[in-house]
């Protein structure tokens, strides 16, 4: 029997076994689907968070707030000075009047808060946007320099909370990895048990196959393929469920922060393929492990 004929036989036998004991097979498929669903969810969340981080990093800016009595001439001079710094893409000087007007436009309900003051209530500021390719350390050092200047009261740098968000993404990834590792272990154990049970149920048949000249490869092959199929099916079910949840968040939660950050885009085709293949590998591993010491 050549390899192609053997594979055809293995797949046929495995499919028959799956259908015959569909309840235990379903249990194995669902167990692996649950673990891969969570694995995929963590992949999706961390991927989307990373994408959002990249997007925010590219539009990152710093706001340098000046002292309230800074004359407009100084504002322009300081803006010119900042614009000359390498890595700075643009500098927009915001006068106290412009800042008040912008506040009133953004928060119309709070417009009264800044109206009717004798002096302008908001300070002048410089809005600095950076070239994304600029070195982070040089930018940080430059902004630190501004913090110590007498004309400056506060430097608000997006980089600080982006750094915190990066830590959150790393934690999400680590937790996801640990959780998926545990769940995958449980799924492998379930598949191994199902395969062992199937082998036990077919014990008599296996002994007949052996007596009529079947090799171990021929006897074990269908069981390995059964584990592989259970894993692949689990991966497909997990990917389908993940797609459903993503669609739900993406369409129902449109405009919300959750949707904007977590359901920005679905997994790439290669990520879905990875999930499905991971399921197949886990199933195959479970089958091989279960029959390794089994005297079939």
């Amino acid at each position: 029997m050549n390899l192609l004929q053997a594979l055809r036989y293995f797949f046929h036998e495995a499919a028959v076994n799956l259908l015959r004991s569909w309840k235990v097979s379903l249990l194995a498929v669902l167990t692996i689907a649950v673990s891969l669903f969570f694995g995929g969810a963590f992949l999706l969340v961390s991927g989307n968070l990373s994408t959002s981080l990249e997007r925010w990093r590219s539009s990152m800016r710093a706001v340098i707030y000046l002292k309230p009595d800074t004359p407009e001439a100084d504002l322009k001079r300081l803006a010119g000075e900042a614009a000359g710094q390498p890595g700075v893409k643009s500098v927009q000087p915001i006068t106290p009047a412009a800042a008040r007007q912008r506040f009133q436009e953004i928060f119309p309900g709070l417009a009264d808060l800044v109206a009717g003051w004798q002096d302008e209530p908001l300070p002048a500021s410089l809005e600095v946007s950076f070239d994304p390719a600029a070195a982070g350390k040089a930018r940080a050092a430059w902004l630190d320099g501004w913090r110590h200047r007498p004309e400056v009261t506060l430097v608000d740098d997006d980089r600080e909370w982006l750094g915190q968000l990066e830590t959150v993404v790393a934690v999400v990834r680590a937790v996801g990895l640990a959780l998926v590792g545990g769940l995958l272990g449980a799924a492998i154990f379930t598949i191994a048990s199902v395969i062992r049970l199937t082998a036990y149920l077919h014990h008599e048949e296996i002994s007949i196959l052996r007596l009529v000249g079947s090799t171990e490869f021929f006897i074990r092959g269908p069981f390995y393929v059964e584990g592989l199929l259970q894993g692949l099916l689990g991966g497909l079910v997990a990917s389908g469920a993940l797609w459903g949840v993503y669609q739900f968040l993406h369409t129902r939660g449109r405009g919300s922060l959750v949707s904007a950050v977590l359901a920005l885009e679905f997994l790439k085709p290669q990520d879905v393929a990875f999930l499905v293949l991971l399921g197949g590998a886990a199933g195959l591993f479970g089958a091989v492990a279960s029959l390794r010491r089994e005297a079939l």
Binding site: M1, Q5, E205, L211, V212, G213, S214, T215
Partner: protein, 250 residues
Amino acid sequence: MIQFFHVSKRYPSGQSALDDVNFDIPRGQFVFLTGASGAGKTTLLRLIFREEVPSSGQILVNGRNVSSIPQRKIPYLRRTIGVVFQDFRLIPRKTVFENVTHLPRLLGVDVQGQKKMAYHALRRVGLAHRLNAFPPELSGGEQQRVAIARALINEPEILIADEPTGNLDPDLSREILRLFLEVNLRGTTVILATHDRDTIQRVGRRVITLDHGTVALDQELVGTDPPVLDPTGGASSEEHSEPPPEEEAG
């Protein structure tokens, strides 16, 4: 072809199944293995195709020492031996066709070839019309015949049958014996375990008699009624009478 040298088989419980068994079966011989229940017939047959390993002694099959053959080579030994088990050993969830064509499939014969071989083998046992039936749908005799078809499908070098006619009516038993003789005429070595003395006496041939695990008698018998089992189609037993056989020591 098959040689036993001082073969003994003792089970872990201490029970002895065979004790210092010696014999030599040349290629192409037809041998009856007989003895009372528990005499060791089935154990002896199982040793030939390495379902059992002897406790001591050597067994040569086609010049290969089967007691020391590596595990991975056992399937290849078994492919040269057709075995008809006392309990049929058919796979219930597979059709007659699938049961019978297991070895050709294993050897890579294409589906068309398998169909031809299955039809031919099943026709020889009169079951060509039950190709798609499942074993539980068949009577004991039919299952026995499927098991025989499976053993014969690949024209094995050796055919071993453990009480192959035990579940069959007399007419069918005669047909099956005729089939075994026909297979033997084509060069296959046949070892047939039975305690049916009547059949043995009618057919003749070499008879090895076991008693409590030892070879009590190894003799050549002349059949009383050979034409009835003549694979070339002799006269019926009712038309033929022969003197009782003269037994000789083997």
